[in-house]
Symmetry: D2
Subunit: 401 residues, 4 copies
Amino acid sequence: MDYVFGPGRNHLFVPGPVNIPESVLRAMNRNNEDYRSPAIPALTKALIEDVKKIFKTTSGTPFLIPTTGTGAWESALTNTLSPGDRIISFLIGQFSLLWIDQQQRLKFDVDVIESDWGQGANLEVMASKLAADTSHTIKAICIVHNETATGVTNNLATVRKILDHYSHPALLLVDGVSSICALDFKMDEWGVDVALTGSQKALSLPTGIGIVCASPKALQASESAKSLRVFFDWKDYLKFYKMGTYWPYTPSIHLLYGLRAALDLIFEEGLDNVIARHGRLGKATRLAVEAWGLKNCAQKEEWFSDTVTAVVVPPYIDSSQIVKRAWQRYNLSLGLGLNKVAGKVFRIGHLGYVNELQLLGCLAGVEMILKDVGYPVKLGSGVAAACAYLQNTIPMIPSRI
Amino acid sequence: MDYVFGPGRNHLFVPGPVNIPESVLRAMNRNNEDYRSPAIPALTKALIEDVKKIFKTTSGTPFLIPTTGTGAWESALTNTLSPGDRIISFLIGQFSLLWIDQQQRLKFDVDVIESDWGQGANLEVMASKLAADTSHTIKAICIVHNETATGVTNNLATVRKILDHYSHPALLLVDGVSSICALDFKMDEWGVDVALTGSQKALSLPTGIGIVCASPKALQASESAKSLRVFFDWKDYLKFYKMGTYWPYTPSIHLLYGLRAALDLIFEEGLDNVIARHGRLGKATRLAVEAWGLKNCAQKEEWFSDTVTAVVVPPYIDSSQIVKRAWQRYNLSLGLGLNKVAGKVFRIGHLGYVNELQLLGCLAGVEMILKDVGYPVKLGSGVAAACAYLQNTIPMIPSRI
Amino acid sequence: MDYVFGPGRNHLFVPGPVNIPESVLRAMNRNNEDYRSPAIPALTKALIEDVKKIFKTTSGTPFLIPTTGTGAWESALTNTLSPGDRIISFLIGQFSLLWIDQQQRLKFDVDVIESDWGQGANLEVMASKLAADTSHTIKAICIVHNETATGVTNNLATVRKILDHYSHPALLLVDGVSSICALDFKMDEWGVDVALTGSQKALSLPTGIGIVCASPKALQASESAKSLRVFFDWKDYLKFYKMGTYWPYTPSIHLLYGLRAALDLIFEEGLDNVIARHGRLGKATRLAVEAWGLKNCAQKEEWFSDTVTAVVVPPYIDSSQIVKRAWQRYNLSLGLGLNKVAGKVFRIGHLGYVNELQLLGCLAGVEMILKDVGYPVKLGSGVAAACAYLQNTIPMIPSRI
Amino acid sequence: MDYVFGPGRNHLFVPGPVNIPESVLRAMNRNNEDYRSPAIPALTKALIEDVKKIFKTTSGTPFLIPTTGTGAWESALTNTLSPGDRIISFLIGQFSLLWIDQQQRLKFDVDVIESDWGQGANLEVMASKLAADTSHTIKAICIVHNETATGVTNNLATVRKILDHYSHPALLLVDGVSSICALDFKMDEWGVDVALTGSQKALSLPTGIGIVCASPKALQASESAKSLRVFFDWKDYLKFYKMGTYWPYTPSIHLLYGLRAALDLIFEEGLDNVIARHGRLGKATRLAVEAWGLKNCAQKEEWFSDTVTAVVVPPYIDSSQIVKRAWQRYNLSLGLGLNKVAGKVFRIGHLGYVNELQLLGCLAGVEMILKDVGYPVKLGSGVAAACAYLQNTIPMIPSRI
């Protein structure tokens, strides 16, 4: 079943699932355990405390739900809203589109604010809607922090500023799937009510935990929310939190141990150093793209994502051929362009437990592929641009000095 | 975080999560992968075909949902039923109780048929209800095949016979969490419409896949079912099945490879040999319980479970002390008595990738614990009874002869 | 290549290689590393210090040679002796025989003191030879602490007493392969000059490190020893110890990390608790053997080994059939009778990271096998005898109380 | 103990130990086994047959000795030669020097033919010595195929041609530690009598198997060789080969399973494709070195090694600072200059399970380091040169087309 793998290590540069650190693989290499023994609650308790740190919250309550990002979305929505509730949601790419689809199927009254793919959320339109909503019919703002399909990062601080400006009580629900643990995310400071991510993104675990963090206001909303839910219901978790046994149903013991190891790595590096590393990787990638003479799908610098770069190819090239070629010839996994940008962009994911030299190997590969598919790239140009920046900015590894 | 472990291997005899075979651990020891590469659909396609075999179905459609048994329940219900639908559900122990709780919270009109804990589903009452339901207001029968809390196995063949007798079109939804892959389960023959299990049970994987298998009739029902759902919606899966990419959202690549290895083991042993092995383990356990002078919580032989035995302790003993002692002194994990039978029973799980000598070590441990807590057991008696049976019945290992 | 494995976990009760703890497997699950980076010397330095503790020495110098027990023997001999040197060596079973064979092939003048297989080293003969050797022609005493073939433990304290009594300067070279880390071993107190073991024995690692510990007197002897050697030469190690880089050639990085994890487990349990556990396992096994009406190959209690029990079968039974049956029917690995005791004994190894319930599963299996091969054992008898003892002696697991 | 590791994956480019494929790590992730069960001989038998293929021999006999390359050297020498035997040995770098040191300490009469470090073996001097040796006092020619310290590959075909030219019966003993499985090695065609390698080199395993392959002529020589040996003695192996149990002492079961997986990978890729891949990696590295304006330590193209490149730095730079910086800032492991070339060269190992993009990441890193230490490199230049070559030569991955 592994026959499709080529020689050497697969270069995994999709924007998730991402490379898993060895120490995380080690931590998960174990037999099952009785999750009702005293060991698992003790492990869980510490995880819940530590997970707050990656959300930069002290008042939030995390839930480690055995699900994916899609399930985490559903948990955020159904615990805080009732069918028919009016919500604002931004359509800026494939993942915000999918979330909106979920919102509509769960029967919320979704007020979609659409932008061109490559632009960020249109906060001016949001502002005018909030201004007009003096009766507070808008119950929630749903926004992706980082749209993985276009490599666009939204400005959550501004979202909060606008909400505060109009003293609007709408809940702020944020998809942080491709941001949390990689981009700076300040749940408390930004007044985020529900933030969520998935284990297979910047946390660098296998898929399987949807991490949802709820503010006190969100918890309060969950008491009256009428959306039907059981598996995703926070109430069951809270009941078992109080009992000290933590789990209303069987967790993945393996992912709990893996999460422990992943958090240990992040804290050892320092969360802000992790974020700074992603800053370097994003910038280096963009410098390479520029050197190749190609455009970033994200149209303005303020939206540039440090976790994924969607690269626009010339019209005479089909970007899916680039992704195919990467896989078939270079053992390199890149992200496809999705939906509206299918064939037009390919994506380089630079998030999770990855370092500069890994990225440079990827960039060198992309240069060769560009040439393969007929784009007149100057080989070495992107790597040179990235190196010029990185050589000035990579810090020493503290433990090795 | 592993400090609570004693010397030597933990003896894991809870009725799930169960012991993971080494070959499964090996298969999961890998980096993440791009689930949109050609490798994962190829892997998934074969898994879906092979999973049918453990349900003994050719017409069913399996869904490998990244969730737990609780999520699998929700998927079974919300895809086939609409809020307000009348369903029959049997309350015979803690897990059927929890499922009923879910059914009620999802706003179905649940007609609960209750039995004493230790008895099987009362099929006579069901029969009379079906007989009375000439207008077919009953949309589904919900039943656990094996109630994990009491060690009671229900007779699904009879359920089908009764439904057929009354030509009743109700869907038959079966929780096979602690039965499928261990007890004989004949989805097609018994006309089961939705059957489900969890990866951490007899399949011997970590928690994280809720395996749901739907009959054509169930699929048809899903087209008109009005329960709101997105994460659990079969429609999204079916759409991606058709496209050949298989996944509406990120699967756990690790569990897919693990499932491949687990199925390979089962097919190598032979599914019916696996079931026969569970028959031996169940019988041996019951012979030991009898030799100890204790009672099985399951009140009649027809209900005896071959995957879990709930042992009733004398009134002067608190069964939770037995479980505690097992953990604290013998590195043995047993199951607690739950809810109505809390303190009254302890449970020995004998399912999954486990063999006779492993069970005998557990039984020897239980004997010592019984003595520890003041029960006048004759040491060796249970093991002797189990050995007398096993020595006559264990087959040779075919590959080693 | 795994096709020979039966369902469930293999019950590994040969006297080595033994069961590997999960935490050790985890520690070894890693990529290679540059052994000239600063990480490996730091790791090695701590290992060398900690390894002394399992030898109970402060003055000894350990060498972690990438070899097996056979290589460790060769290292002990060639570093301390010159061809033609007269040495005393005890022949009490297959492994002492193999060591003697090595001694002879390395051209030492071996004065063999033979005992019946099942008896310990004849220390009276040694005493008389030492008494007669006033000119100190005897350069070394070579003795196995625990003869793995017969389950016989020699009394090293007495050996030392006799040497001291005659003020004889002969070096004391001890094979502790199946004793160190399981039986009490006091290198300094007993004045052992070279002690050695293998990673796959009580340390519970894979095969691959021959651990040799040399006293200052042995180190001094190595300076003038004329046996040719390079790979096994301590001098090269000592040179690199001094340089702080530790390795004259490439070590197995995996086994170093594994050894770290193994030592951590031993120190967490407490070395003397580890030894006490082996005491319980040995005693429990012997009580079972007695209950079965069988004899221990070790003829007197003073020689009974707590790491391996060689069980004598009745003359009408071929013990190799027992081992074969264990493998073919019960997924149980027992040790064969070797050489003189081939067909006459089978061996139960009870050393390393193993606990009481694991052993009881093995003993229950042996009972069934005995019945299989026509021995009139009372099923349950051995387990009952073992349990009666263990139930009174197993301590609580400290971290779980 | 892992605290020294920086973020992201360590880039391991020392010339051994090398990167381990995931499938090999998986294969080794297992409990110990009884090596006297029928499973291990069956596994071993197939390994021995398959190992012949990587030596390109049909008449050779492989020994999988639990040792390192140093032990494999010793096994080659002591099994074929007697103390005092005259042998020719080439000194061209640190590893040939160490082998000569071993030869001298084992008391052979070593006729050293020395070259400048950076040059290959001086075969003309060998020819003249053979010409003069009409009485055949020279018993063996000892030569490293690939000197790992200088990145120099010797021409073994020519060595054989010269021996044949003089009809000289000397044995041909070859150190193939950093060549076999990466460079073309034709044991039978070149009339090599003993060839050897180590598991941690191009086979991409952990350290721990010294693989020695003996020609029929070498086996014959072993019958009369007088060097003392036991652990390394082929005779013991041959005895157990004949018995079908294969192991005179405990093998590393883990490395056997790992070797199985490693060989499977090599055969899947195709041995000649593996060799061609190393050809590409070597060439790409040399093109980068040239682009940087630096010199290869290997002085002529005929000696250029495709498994390791020793790069000469300008006199004003200390190459050990490059290696240190690589480790401390870039998580890159490079090889130090050794002995005569200490401080003058650093080494890039490009052997084992590694692909082009991994190498390009390394080369990008080296460029930045060169700049760090004050060498005026044009960033991107080496990568550009390597890419220009690779983009024209990398084949498609057959299984993915």
